[in-house]
Symmetry: C2
Subunit: 232 residues, 2 copies
């Protein structure tokens, strides 16, 4: 492979609860077999009816909502809570999102983002007759580094981790870096054409190796269990 394209999918209408996201994506994008479609959590949550009424200015109500979405609070600083969610994500405010949602509402994470990705993938195959991989992405902070990047919270039809164990480098030595989190790199790459202020909720990556199209789960394969984590 020597060339990858990332295409912003524009022209999706407002997404409401019950909306068939796959059908919307098929009609807004010209998809091809082997594409990987990245869909932001926000519209997945909206389509799945994961909006909750909340007065975002009421800090007690806000915090109660965030704590209700957490299995564990790892750190608190002022109004910022770093939480572990029941899925196993570690992120600010348990992924509860107060922007790009209607006034008076917040968007919760999908209940099972891998399942969300599978449904979108199956729907795209049904409506568009193409086989694609799907990544559901969200925007997370991280320790050590300022700013936020997009990461994968669910996937279907694309490997979350590329396992290079047993491979050799160009000099014939076995590789030191053996597990590449390609689903997170795909989510980060897609964010470059989405933009928080541009409100493009879907992007397509065209030109990834076909060997990367496989099965796997973000929750099972990409999340590090707490017992293996040196910082939890």
């Amino acid at each position: 492979m020597n060339r990858l394209e990332i295409l912003a999918v524009e022209g999706l209408g407002e997404i409401a609860a019950g909306c068939d996201l796959a059908a919307e994506i098929v009609s807004a994008a010209s998809l091809e077999d082997g594409d990987v479609v990245v869909v932001t959590q926000k519209i997945v949550s909206k389509a799945e009816g994961r909006l909750r009424a909340v007065d975002a200015g009421d800090l007690v109500e806000r915090r109660r909502l965030v704590e209700g979405e957490s299995s564990r609070v790892l750190r608190r600083r002022g109004e910022l809570l770093i939480c572990e969610t029941p899925h196993g994500f570690v992120c600010a405010n348990a992924g509860v999102d107060f922007s790009n949602v209607p006034e008076g509402f917040a968007a919760l994470l999908p209940a099972d983002p891998d399942r969300s990705a599978r449904r979108i993938r199956d729907g795209i195959r049904m409506h568009g007759s193409v086989g694609v991989g799907v990544v559901v992405s969200d925007t997370f902070g991280r320790p050590w580094r300022r700013g936020l990047t997009d990461a994968a919270i669910g996937c279907a039809g694309v490997l979350p981790i590329l396992d290079l164990r047993g491979s050799e480098d160009a000099t014939g030595r076995s590789l030191q870096v053996t597990e590449v989190a390609i689903a997170d790199e795909i989510a980060a790459a897609a964010e470059l054409v989405m933009g928080k202020d541009r409100n493009v909720p879907v992007a397509v990556l065209r030109g990834l190796p076909s060997s990367w199209l496989g099965s796997g789960s973000v929750t099972a394969d990409l999340l590090r269990p707490a017992r293996e984590d040196l910082f939890r």
Copy 2:
């Protein structure tokens, strides 16, 4: 913007100490004004003579080298050390790299990766008469998630962080996500065409917004100081 291209730059020769990386890149790639060129740490370290003789099988010698490149060891598990480097990076083994280097050697991080990026950028302008941004990337693990992703360790002519404070979302509410670590997303995106087993050390991103071409430093802008970090 609705389309971004990521191009693998192939055909770079073996990089030796003192090599003019910018000249090599200009002759291997057809660069255009506004491109962002991502260069892996490995070839920057090689060109800058940052290889050190080490018997990689001698664990005491290995550990001594890693500790010498660290300002602080945050965690130890077996032979794995999570270190803070004098630059402020938090990473496994202080970024000391034992793959894709000649047998009997390890590659250290560049002494000042932002300066490395500036030199490459200036050299590309001189040899190729084009104005580009440059990101120097490396491959790091992270808490919470398995696998590794590429991140920026130096940059020149491209913003490390896109600051959207004061911007509004599509519904007119002020944005919750306000600082996007675009240099890290650029590094992650570039890795998708590089591949640890394919040994492509340079990639070009074409189509990023021209407003992202600006000045800034990974060390000054993208690294989170320990006092602001909730996990150090």
